[in-house]
């Protein structure tokens, strides 16, 4: 190994209104090796990557490439310096072809300012083969599956032939086989003398490919160590700053009567014939691989997707849910995973956001009773310990955890019978996570129910009193809360992928 790394970031600081996202972060990447960047949601990984990729400008600090200080003031600059970034969110244009997307911004040049489409197509085909995805360069991206889109993004990062390739959660949408292929590819790329910066929530993957690990927590570097000297437990401890909590959070009351019942519940091609029941005091988990219909069940219940069949009963009474207002009236409240776009009005303050769904309750002849409103909202802000405890703060400026609390608060104000959570703690820091779990329990302990969808099995195992597994739009398995094991849950999610083998196993 050379004495000084190819890429060095020193003292990087980045502030956003109300939050310090990065504080004097030092990070380095050597050519020929894979450097993993890990941390809880909101630790600052993506922000650091965006600084490196020229999407954000740091407020302080310097970046050195090959010993020279460089200013990366535009993504194009990063690309020219040999840095490719796969950002966490998808960065493709749906109406463009695969080849157009791969070469967007650096199309092969033909005569008269044209794009050399033949070369783009050939080159794209080679890259797609390299990442091992079966799509045609001429397919439209809008026609691809999520996993295929992800692979196209990876092909795009390789298309620049960069020295440093950054992958922010590249495996999020991939299945086991695809992940294995990708990790192999990453190893090859490193062997070719590139530096890879790899970000993943799945620590197994991190340990499999990386030589070095840097742990971020709350915008600071906690440790940078060779992977060989780390254990998974150590990394988890560094990430969370405490012994990783794995204990269950049980309810205090035995399940009572059913509050939410679904009978043969269906929505078009998303899911069909779903039967489930949430009882008083219960948290029910709905899990599955990405795209098996579990999220859509919640969306349909919230009135955001048309219901095409079946029955919904709340407290034994059938409900018609055609729009969100029907769901709210029936006592169902939905906390979506896209809280910034679907849960909050970001430019408005905490007070208005929390008060919005229940305005009707505090009106007098069409006017809002402001004093009453402040009283109600302040009580909720205090109860949920929203930080800062100011009603006038724009929700845009809050951290992920506090934004989530605001969303929960506005629905608690409506006193729902059942809270529907989609990814209750995505993008929420550790401390706030625990608080949100406690809140969910508080709801059930007071006789309410919770139906949650989560891709985080750890959280499912800690919270749920019952877990239903969905596959291809149907509920295929149910686990009682005292029999939740990661392996079994994973197997149930995946197991249905091989119906023939299972069928064979039935034969004695």
């Amino acid at each position: 190994m050379t004495a000084s790394p190819f890429l060095e970031m020193k003292g990087i600081t980045k502030r956003f209104p109300g939050v310090v996202a990065l504080q004097e972060v030092d990070f380095a990447c050597r050519l020929g090796s894979v450097h993993a960047l890990v941390g809880e949601n909101g630790a600052g990984k993506s922000t650091l990557i965006k600084v490196l990729g020229g999407v954000y400008q740091p407020d302080a600090g310097e970046i050195r490439l090959d010993g020279r200080a460089v200013q990366i003031n535009h993504p194009d600059r990063a690309a020219r310096l040999g840095i490719s970034v796969i950002h966490q969110e998808l960065n493709l244009i749906p109406a463009f072809t695969v080849a157009q997307n791969i070469f967007l911004g650096h199309e092969p040049r033909g005569p008269l300012g044209s794009v050399d489409r033949r070369r783009a197509e050939e080159e794209a085909r080679r890259l797609l083969d390299l990442v091992g995805v079966e799509v045609d360069p001429d397919d439209l991206v809008s026609e691809l599956s999520l996993a295929q889109k992800q692979m196209v993004e990876i092909a795009r990062a390789l298309s620049r032939d960069s020295k440093v390739i950054v992958m922010d959660e590249p495996t999020a949408a991939l299945n086991g086989n695809e992940v294995r292929k990708l990790l192999e590819l990453i190893r090859q790329l490193a062997q070719q003398g590139r530096g890879i910066i790899f970000i993943s929530h799945r620590l197994e993957e991190v340990f499999e490919v990386s030589q070095e690990i840097t742990v971020l927590r709350d915008g600071r570097v906690v440790a940078t160590r060779p992977a060989a000297e780390c254990s998974m437990e150590l990394v988890v401890r560094l990430m969370t700053g405490k012994e990783h909590a794995t204990f269950r959070i049980p309810g205090r009351r035995p399940p009572g009567k059913a509050i939410l019942e679904l009978r043969a519940f269906s929505s078009g091609r998303y899911f069909q014939g779903v039967n489930l029941c949430v009882r008083e005091g219960e948290i029910v988990g709905l899990i599955g691989l990405e795209g098996q219909g579990q999220r859509e069940v919640l969306r349909a219940l919230s009135g955001a997707l048309p219901i095409t069949g079946g029955q919904v009963l709340v407290d034994g009474r059938p409900c018609k849910i055609a729009a969100p207002r029907d769901a709210i009236r029936s006592g169902l409240a939905f906390v979506p995973e896209e809280r910034k776009s679907e849960g909050l009005c970001l430019v408005r303050d905490v007070l208005e956001n929390i008060a919005l769904p229940t305005l009707r309750e505090r009106q007098l002849g069409g006017f809002v009773r402001r004093r009453e409103e402040r009283r109600v909202v302040r009580r909720l802000v205090e109860m949920l310990r929203i930080q800062p405890p100011s009603l006038a703060q724009r929700t845009h400026n809050l951290s992920g955890g506090n934004q989530q609390k605001v969303v929960i608060a506005k629905w608690l104000a409506a006193r729902p019978r059942v809270l529907l959570f989609s990814e209750p703690t995505r993008g929420v820091d550790v401390g706030a996570k625990e608080e949100i779990y406690q809140l969910m329990r508080q709801v059930t302990d007071q006789g309410g129910g919770v139906l949650m969808v989560s891709g985080d099995l750890g959280e499912v195992m800690r919270l749920c009193d019952r877990v239903l597994v969905m596959f291809e739009g149907r509920v295929v398995k149910e686990f009682p809360g005292d029999r939740l094991e990661r392996q079994a849950l994973m197997a149930a999610q995946w197991g249905m992928m091989r119906p023939r083998e299972e069928g064979a196993a039935d034969v004695p």
Binding site: V85, N91, E134
Partner: protein, 330 residues
């Protein structure tokens, strides 16, 4: 075992045709134009006379050029309502400044085109750098441009040199020059928007500026260039209109802002997906003019024509939205 893909997938002609049918957003407008022409020819024998058809084509040129101009702005994710104001100003400038010498004709024409480009550049600068909503800012600037045009020419007047008129509106081998010029502009614009890197970047910026930015595209620069093209082509439309009218008119551009938008949207272009092309816009412009022609022959008042154009825009916008939703559902 997964099937092994052939090294190069060859698309048969039929396959390519089906894909074009599926992907080209202008297909509906082509069909609508064809059906309209067929029905009109059957119902009104005078309509299908070659003289009338050529006449309709020539009538379509001004709107066709304005629509091409608008397509650049719309594919870049904006809208440019100054198209009308620039057309008005161009006719006024041509009628006031052009003298009956070849030098003057060239110089004034060039200056008018340059002026249109500069106005477009200013639009683009304000939209991309100051970051204001294009609809609002161009509406405001358009009002100002009309004001300027009216200041210089309160009522239609002036004279465009006769030689300029005949030169612009003449024929080459039976093909009217304006139609030929329009065709060249459409083909050139199609090439720029569909085949060049700039065109790909422009449509990427229109589809998703953030994605374009992260791909290393200079979003502001692309937007400014797009609006410059819009301004330039709008000035060209104005210049042509001046030659056709033989004089200047500060209100000549009045309806072009909205009509150019109608032509573009009816032609299949979409505000925020980077989808659309100038051939669709040309068909859209042609449709508007053809229907006007038919209405005239049927003796229907222009009031109703305005009503109809409004309805067409509503249908085109709604149709585009429905089509998009339908495609997403699929």
């Amino acid at each position: 075992m997964k099937a092994k893909r052939p090294a190069v997938r060859v698309h048969s002609r039929g396959e390519r045709f089906r894909r074009w049918l599926r992907r080209d957003p202008a297909v509906p407008i082509y069909l609508i134009v064809l059906v309209t022409l067929a029905v009109a020819s059957l119902v009104a024998p005078t309509f299908r006379q070659p003289v009338n058809l050529v006449n309709v084509l020539v009538q379509s040129v001004a709107l066709g050029l304005a629509g091409t101009a608008q397509t650049f702005a719309i594919l870049a994710g904006d809208v440019d309502l100054t198209v009308g104001g620039i057309i008005s100003l161009a006719t006024v400038a041509a009628a006031k400044a052009m003298a009956d010498t070849p030098q003057s004709m060239f110089l004034v024409s060039a200056l008018i085109l340059l002026g249109g480009g500069v106005l477009g550049l200013i639009n683009g600068f304000i939209i991309s750098r100051v970051k204001v909503e294009s609809m609002i800012i161009t509406l405001a600037i358009n009002a100002a441009l009309f004001g300027v045009a009216l200041h210089f020419m309160p009522y239609p007047s002036g004279m465009v040199p006769y030689r300029f008129m005949t030169a612009v509106t003449g024929q080459v081998g039976g093909v009217p020059l304006p139609v030929l010029g329009w065709g060249i502009i459409v083909v050139a614009s199609w090439y720029v928007l569909n085949r060049t890197r700039f065109g790909v970047h422009l449509r990427a910026v229109g589809a998703d500026p953030e994605v374009a930015f992260r791909a290393g595209i200079k979003v502001e620069r692309v937007k400014m260039a797009a609006h410059t093209a819009t301004g330039l082509l709008a000035a060209l439309a104005g210049l042509f209109l001046a030659a056709r009218m033989g004089s200047g008119d500060a209100t000549a551009g009045g309806t072009f802002g909205l009509d150019s938008m109608t032509a573009t949207i009816a032609g299949g272009a979409n505000f925020s997906s980077g989808v659309g092309n100038v051939t669709g816009t040309a068909a859209g412009a042609f449709l508007i003019v053809v229907l006007g022609n038919i209405f005239n022959q049927m003796g229907i008042s222009t009031y109703y024509q305005t009503l109809f154009k409004g309805a067409l825009l509503v249908m085109a916008v709604a149709g585009g939205a429905i089509r998009k939703r339908w495609q997403e559902k699929k």
